[in-house]
Symmetry: C4
Subunit: 193 residues, 4 copies
């Protein structure tokens, strides 16, 4: 299969389509409560909060994906399949979001949420490894990718940590789920970049 012909435009358009759908279908899990009472609405709150959090996580992933694709020099088979690997784990976000939202006090549901976000992080890691490979002799670019990859590896480590942590306290895991997106909004200097 000669993949070299593919342009980043197509890769980007397809990934965007998949991410746009992932972000939007999550809302289908938000079932309108049977009764229009305030207590019934409050019961939906954890599902809503998990939806909002996953929307934020997926939005950050979309922004990062965009920057990443911009740096691509050639669409190799390795890049293409790393991207599809990432999209696979991202496509599970609506499932784990729904599961964790409905069982937010259950370690397993929370651990599964963290596990899927960790798997997404490994997808980004693979994509960036390929970018570093493509940087060739351009040491400035190489260093730029390596620096971002260290930040990504830190986020991945936190997500991995959230899996066993959920069995100690689900709230500790939730703290991580809020911390990682926050890392992307804090001034760059504070997070060592």
């Amino acid at each position: 299969m000669p993949h070299s012909e593919m342009t980043t435009g197509r890769l980007e358009a397809f990934s965007d389509g998949v991410i746009a759908i992932i972000i939007t279908i999550m809302v289908l899990e938000l079932r309108a409560p049977a009764q229009p009472t305030f207590p019934a609405l409050v019961k939906v709150a954890p599902v809503f909060i998990s939806y909002a959090l996953s929307f934020l996580v997926a939005a950050i992933m979309w922004v990062n994906h965009h920057h990443l694709v911009h740096a691509v020099r050639s669409v190799t088979a390795r890049l293409l399949w790393s991207n599809l690997y990432l999209l696979f784990w991202m496509s599970l976000i609506p499932f784990v979001t729904d599961y964790a939202g409905k069982n937010y006090r259950e370690p397993m549901a929370v651990a599964l949420y963290g596990l899927d976000l960790f798997m997404c992080s490994t997808g980004y890691y693979l994509l960036r490894l390929e970018l570093i490979r493509q940087s060739g002799h351009d040491s400035a670019l190489r260093e730029h990718h390596e620096r971002i990859n260290r930040k990504g590896a830190f986020a991945a480590a936190l997500y991995l940590l959230s899996v066993p942590l959920a069995y100690a306290s689900v709230y500790a895991s939730f703290f991580i789920f809020v911390l990682v997106p926050a890392m992307y909004f804090l001034p760059e200097k504070l997070v060592g970049e």
Copy 2:
């Protein structure tokens, strides 16, 4: 995160994808009545009407979003996240539409619908604030954006009003929900522009 590289084309394509899905998945809430009788169909009518109204609202938002993006000079982080903030509230339209359609006589369901449209309006407001900021010394352009923003602020105020109003009379809120889209179709002179 250097956002400056993003083109408006990508921002537009992604937003379009999300809005197209929002508009289309709402129809999934229109459940075919179990029995093929006229009374059974009539029961679906409020859900259908709320679908039609939300389709119209989302269509107007899409048209406005398009004009707005056309005026963008550079895709700053502020613009990007204002846009994602808007898409988040828009993504809840299918949920509040379904909820209000099935409980159209319940103040809380109607108030929630108004609240979500108000939140969407704040998203547009933030986007236009950023556009005004980008206008720089071009006072004609600045004035153009400020004029549109006044109209938007008026629509936002009406949506906000619909929230408490629903507890007095849901029909008063529905009047607002029909009035705001109508404002966009009346001859410009009548709405003070």
Copy 3:
């Protein structure tokens, strides 16, 4: 609202997105039978056939929509809203398909299917009227659009006929639903063009 700035590219991309979703979400109504037996599968057959028919109808609409947009000279407000009007009725195809598929012997369900396809036809009619208006002094182009519009009006008349006909015989209506797509595949000479 100055619509003149919109390009046909955006109109096309958004319409394509909506049509792609319409075509695809219909399959969600195809519920896997609870038991893996042949009789259980046969019960799904009418829903499958109605899905296949609607896929074909929507595919033809997509092809026609594409040709239509290609002839657009400027994206006027009238064109934009005619298009959104068409997409609204198209967005109901999954609903009427599901309803008719599950109640294919019930006149009302079949009539509703015909009614929605008729409303879609009126959307095309409005779009083509606007194209004829845009043709200006180019009489060859004008005639081309008028000829296609006659064919479209014929299809619309057939769909309108299928509504009362369903109360006489649902099979007569189904004949129309198969006949109209066939018209688009028969050699052009046979259908008077």
Copy 4:
């Protein structure tokens, strides 16, 4: 209907939209288990595995579709409708995936999965036949397409074989479902190319 005007760009964008949705809505069938226990999660495993397999199959189809469209010289009516025929069978993948995932020990459910993938293969076959036709006197290109088509025909034959085989042993069919995607990842020399 003059199809000649259509560009491959539009064909590609529409197909991409449909494939992106197919890939993503499959995850909606992954229902979160009612109880957050490990045994409850294990019950979801076959549905998850069938999802992962179908994701892989659809991803390979997307990559192949992309290469195929790149070789298109003119968008003829034959090409357009071969493509829509392919998308129709692809759109059933979420349905057969769900059915086979929930009834993975039932020959009929597994046979249906194989049948749909076989029908998809016939879609690719038709598309490549049209490409061979378009190759004209370019014998090198013609041979390239014919070689790929032989590989495709081999995959199609395997999928067709999986249909009766499911009645002997569903595991034999599953072996085929894993074998065919693997064929696309093995070094080209091993699969005779």
